[in-house]
């Protein structure tokens, strides 16, 4: 099996780890938007309560 020169191989390894980190970040972002939506709805309910 050919061992690629370090700078070439480095690109692929970096790519793999970037994929991993990117997945986590995308996931966290999605959960983040979910939480933002929850917060908005809570504010809406609280506002509705205060109106009564």
């Amino acid at each position: 099996m050919p061992a690629l020169p370090l700078d070439e191989a480095g690109k692929y390894v970096a790519g793999a780890y970037v994929v991993f980190v990117a997945l986590i970040l995308v996931y966290v972002a999605i959960i983040g938007t979910k939480i933002a939506r929850i917060e908005r709805e809570i504010s809406a309910i609280v506002a509705a309560e205060e109106d009564e």
Binding site: M1, L4, A9, V13, Y17, V19, I24, I31, R37, I42
Partner: protein
Amino acid sequence: MYSKGLAPLAAATAVTITTAFTLVFFYAPNDADQGFIQKIFYVHVPMAIVALGGFVAGGVFAIKHLRSGDSSWDLRSYVAIHLSIILGVGVLATGAIWAKASWGHWWVWDEPVLVSFLVVFLLYCVYYPLRFSIEDPGRQARYSSVFAIAAGAFVPLNFVAVRMAESFTHPRVLSQTGGDLPGDMRLTFLVSLLGMVLLFVTLWKLELTAKHASMQLKKLRNRARVAA
């Protein structure tokens, strides 16, 4: 309820993953055959193992759901499967990168683990259309649980079958993870695996908390609407 212990868990995850990355790049030696490319293995294989474990866990939670009728088990099952599918995308992506770097093609059929993973991934992708095409929530949960159990039982069977089929070609690199890793590589691998497990559990709890909060909120909103 679901977020208990989330903060220390997240901290442990961060520490373990940082340690793992450090070990990968500063401690583990370069592989004799593959060179630097082999470093991908420390992220690809743990992801695969944890994803498969997540699918099986989804099946176990589904069994608990059907036995108890408690829908919180269905939620746990759904999130576990959902997370494993996302990890599955990562497994296939990092596997393709490894294949391209090692053998020049973006996909190879010689790796039984990768191939059987593709089949499992294709199967679990059906979870979403199946689940969301059933409108009644009780039925949706029950049918999803049946799927999760059947698919969970399928995972080991499929792995065995693909392995048997591929054993006529020479087993390749991934099979190495079984036994003959030298000590420093093995330590790095185990730490990486632990980090991945902790990451999965952390994200699982995180999503459970968010989903549960969202469901509680919906109940509250409906009650407020009825009262008004």
